[in-house]
């Protein structure tokens, strides 16, 4: 027998016996074709590209590369950067994302040319804003799987009127055109491809075929000569490659469950955390076989929930100031800060700050003996 077939047989035997290699942060999902894997690798190069004003950066931006904010512990991970968002809630309860004043994302950096023209270091804060929010950069692992979950599955979990009287009333958020949202801290954006295309424009000032014109300067036009790079500043090929890199990022394999962590997993469900942080979601049919009909650990229902007044900041879409999407807990053990704005330094601190619909589970967690609380934390640190 030649050596190549033997290696194949050994690999198949290992897979068959459940000894598949654990997936690390930054790895691609398993089961991609050679072509898809090639796109993942080429997409990572686009993701890590550092832009300059000469290659399209700005004139307003938050970062000069996707990888600047999504880097820990690997490309596609989280970052230390905190950005600023602003919206307005009108008296009748309608949310205005203040797009006419440069919102909802208020860029924190300006190119030298913009600074020279207008004397500003960042985008002016919208005058009509009724609230300001800070947003930390979260890890992107497993987002392709989240994208592939059918809307109908999310709708199935929604219980806006709390008909089952469990104190949890998750509901769907919707984008400005009415489609169901799932990405972003308020579950506002419907698809991963759109989130990525929009992020190039608003985070880096990189126009692309989906967003071919630049962000305004607080609603005002860009001064002539400040942004000489022709639009779009990246082409469809680069946009699609970067999007495929994110789409194919695998959820890191959970760490081995110790007996304590196993106990914590049971308690996580028993105190009610799993009512919103649903352990498993399932994808629908998908053109990418590796994303099709996959059951995976998400620990989210991708719905928005009232989290109480202490966490409240901006409205967005149908989400009120206190409503946030249940954060997926994929790759949680690699996070260094928690909650939507990174305000919590520890997992226990993050649980303590759950209010609103999360207060019941929080109170039951609080009531656990110290050893059992430690078990829940031990479980979360395996994710």
């Amino acid at each position: 027998m030649s050596r190549v077939p033997l290696a194949v047989i050994l690999a198949l035997a290992l897979l068959g016996s459940g000894c598949a290699k654990p997936t690390k942060p930054g790895d691609a999902i398993s089961g991609l074709t050679a072509g898809q894997r090639d796109r993942f690798l080429r997409g990572r190069a686009v993701f890590d590209s550092v832009f300059t004003p000469e290659t399209g950066l700005g004139p307003l931006f938050n970062a000069n590369a996707c990888g600047e904010c999504h880097e820990n512990p690997a490309a596609g991970g989280s970052g230390d950067e905190i950005e600023v968002h602003a919206t307005a809630t009108h008296v009748e309860g309608v949310c205005d994302p203040l797009a006419g004043e440069g919102g909802p994302v208020v860029q924190q950096q300006a190119t030298p040319a913009l600074k020279a023209a207008l004397g500003i270091d960042q985008e002016p804060f919208p005058k009509s804003a009724t609230a300001r929010a800070h947003r930390s950069s979260l890890a992107l692992f497993g987002r392709g799987l989240l994208d592939a979950v059918p809307d109908s599955e999310l709708a199935r979990y929604a219980d806006p009127d709390d008909r089952n009287r469990d104190g949890i009333s998750g509901r769907l958020n919707r984008f400005v055109d009415g489609r169901i949202g799932r990405f972003g801290r308020k579950a506002f954006v419907p698809t991963l491809a759109e989130f990525n295309a929009g992020a190039f424009a608003i985070e880096q000032g990189i126009t692309n075929p989906s967003v071919p014109d630049e962000e305004s300067i607080g609603g005002a036009p860009i001064p002539k000569g400040v942004d000489p790079t022709p639009d779009p500043e990246i082409d469809q090929t680069a946009l699609d490659l970067a999007s495929d890199f994110v789409r194919f990022l695998a959820p890191p394999s959970p760490a081995r469950l110790t007996p304590q962590a196993r106990r914590g997993r049971d308690l996580f469900a028993r105190v009610g955390c799993a009512s919103c942080h649903l352990p498993k979601l399932r994808t629908g049919n998908n053109p990418v076989r590796a994303l099709s009909r996959q059951e995976f650990f998400a620990y989210s229902d991708l719905l928005i929930h009232d989290m109480g007044p202490d966490l409240a900041d901006i409205c967005l879409g149908l989400a009120g100031p206190s409503e946030f999407r249940t954060e997926p807990l994929i790759g949680l053990r690699f996070a260094e800060h928690f909650l939507h704005d990174g305000r919590a330094e520890t997992l226990e601190g993050a649980i303590e700050q759950h209010g609103g619909e999360g207060s019941g589970a929080r109170d039951r967690f609080r009531a656990l003996p110290a050893k059992e609380r430690e078990s829940v934390i031990a479980f979360l640190k395996t994710l």
């Binding site: 797009a99 909802p104 919707r174 400005v176 009415g178 954006v189 759109e194 424009a201 608003i202």
Partner: protein, 108 residues
């Protein structure tokens, strides 16, 4: 799964708005978004659309002849309020985006 096809369509619709930054006179375009302002005196409304978190706001002029999609009646501006989601067929006339047909969208 129907999401990819509908997503492509809506991204194209939204992109057509962005392309509207360099208006092509008289060329019909379609938009779908949320009304964030109505100006009855000026006969216009403000619409937000976009791609991802990159949102854009445009002012749509509503001429007295603007129709309601699916019908022949004229759409009075008073039919619309902030928060309504609408689908609009429109065209550029000079620096104004002029509504030809408009319909409210009820999310499914």
């Amino acid at each position: 799964m129907k999401r990819p096809a509908s997503t492509v369509l809506l991204v194209l619709l939204a992109s057509s708005l962005f392309a509207a930054g360099a208006p092509q006179q008289g060329v019909p375009t379609s938009l779908q978004g949320t009304i964030v302002g109505v100006q009855p005196t000026a006969g216009s409304l403000d619409l937000v659309t976009g791609v991802g978190m990159a949102l854009r706001q445009v002012r749509l002029t509503m001429p007295a002849t603007a129709g309601i999609a699916g019908g022949s009646t004229v759409a009075p501006l008073s039919m619309f309020k902030r928060g309504d989601i609408v689908r609009v067929q429109c065209h550029w006339s000079g620096k104004r985006l002029v509504t030809d047909r408009i319909e409210k969208v009820v999310p499914q």
